[in-house]
Subunit: 382 residues, 2 copies
Amino acid sequence: MKILILGGDGYFGWPTAMHLSAQGHQVAVVDNYLRRSLCREENVEPLVEVPNLHQRAALWESVAGYPIPVFIGDLRQWETIEAVFRQFEPESIVHFAEQPAAPYSMLNRRSATLTLRNNLDVTANVIFAVKQFNPAIHIVKLGTMGEYGTPAIDIEEGWLEVEHKGRRQKFLYPRQAGSLYHTTKIMDTDLLWFYVRVWELRVTDLMQGPVYGIFTQENRIDEALCPFLNYDELFGTVLNRFVIQAVADYPMTVYGKGGQTRGYLNIIDTLNCVRLALVNSPANGELRILNQFTETFSVNQLAQKVQSVARAMGYKAKISSVENPRKEAEDHYYNPAHTGLLDLGLKPQFLTGEVLSEMIEFAARHKTAIRPEQIFRKVRWD
Amino acid sequence: MKILILGGDGYFGWPTAMHLSAQGHQVAVVDNYLRRSLCREENVEPLVEVPNLHQRAALWESVAGYPIPVFIGDLRQWETIEAVFRQFEPESIVHFAEQPAAPYSMLNRRSATLTLRNNLDVTANVIFAVKQFNPAIHIVKLGTMGEYGTPAIDIEEGWLEVEHKGRRQKFLYPRQAGSLYHTTKIMDTDLLWFYVRVWELRVTDLMQGPVYGIFTQENRIDEALCPFLNYDELFGTVLNRFVIQAVADYPMTVYGKGGQTRGYLNIIDTLNCVRLALVNSPANGELRILNQFTETFSVNQLAQKVQSVARAMGYKAKISSVENPRKEAEDHYYNPAHTGLLDLGLKPQFLTGEVLSEMIEFAARHKTAIRPEQIFRKVRWD
């Protein structure tokens, strides 16, 4: 299958590109290095510097034998997406090309405007390009479990059947997110759902939870193939941050009560989920929504898991409750469904002690690169 | 009250400005003449040419004695909105500054991109400006009944209490619209609802149905104060179009079966609803949603009403069913609530024979200006 990966330089994009390439698919990647620029601007660069896409693609070809064509350009510009579609002629698209961080989106007016414009303009251009060049293309879009928020009822898989005054209607499950970033994902869903209905597009929306991890089957051969690892408050995901904090002897920053519960998954499962979605395509005119996570944990539980493994490895691994800079429920009901991907064949990689100790070992190898001052800077939601 | 009207040149903007000014409020208007530009580009100009905003404001001051400061600029640019907020220091904002036409939004990629960017960028800038300059400002935002679509259950006023597996949760009423334009209004709602929750903004979202009419209390004194009257398929609303078609001896274009039912209101009621929302402000941190229409009609019923009055005035007023260029249900359940504005004191101006005959007389006075070729050009949704 010819698969085009938008945002192919990112934490998910590059590992996904290698994974699909290793499975025998023809893969191409597009990126404009937006996330690298933002990390540099905000002085929160990843733990280990990562070679650029051309270099990584060359390295991958040398070790695996598969080429991955690289396109550099801004997908908000029609000229960019048009050129890529004409040259590569994708059959499927994996759309990761969004500003991916909630705290960054809440930093200031500039960061909010950039998040809003980038995420929606790219999604719109993807839709228009598919319509113009090949409406049979399957769009696999990364949404987020955060779109649902934390309602007091069970979270279903994308849809909700409502009975009201004796009549019934199936709706998109109502969405109510906790950051501007997450809200742009809701707006993406609105846009995709509209055009699925009018133009009969073929779309999978993967409602992904926070991801952790570094290693995948394809990058163990050379650390230069590993993804970014951000450990700062702006771009780092919570478990990755806690691992670095434990190694750096920086008390793990639990926001408020720490009862905030989410569905988590290993980066290996992200790749498997995307692949399963691609090889099991929905029909034209179908918006298929899959909740993409494998286990739910509260922030307290995550901190305790890291603490337990890290202490056994000789770290102090303190936990510190800090004033919550976000606006969110710190103690809430959370029962989200997630059977769709298991039904497609997902075999989860759960958060074991082994997974955690391997992450801690990686962080320990790069301990001198950790800059504690970039870990926590209190980006307040208000 | 100091009220800033965004999109003050439009079909609603200018009549609202005069109405609030006549009620003793200090009113200022902003516009970039976007709609005038789009009508010119698409060769679908209104029935009667309308003086520019500076000219209308001067005319209004000469007849009513009240000044209405005019700002010309693009509210997508932060510099524009910042300058207006600093100079006028509004206490309330009425936000009409959006590309307002569903068919225009479905015309092509350029029109879709313009609609998406314009509508969301302006709404975001309004939010950011209110947060920066005065978070107590009440934002009155024009939404649309079209955000709800045509679900098989009753449409409530903005919110839906859901019972699911023995638990309860109140959600934003699920939205599912029939055009890109309407979808951008859903996306506006997502954005406003997020920032109401995090920043405790004070917002009224008026979910308005299609509006008809020309005359208001304030413009009877001089036709140069009347709003645009578009009768084309791109920018004209259905009843206004049917009136012109009857006068032009152009069979009224009913799409498909004509059972499409919506909630309608007279432009006079638009002004009253906006005023009632302004003088009865919600609390900070409240998103108040009001369904703004006074009567529901199917397209067939509208055509028959126009036919009946027009025939009594000597017109043939034929009705012609044409293939539906849109994707929409032509026969559906429709039972939307609309008590909120009545509770605030709205006294509806219903669609009487007198209202219709006055509209027909207006069209007849300008009959020679009607260009039949711009009435119907089949902008197809697919």
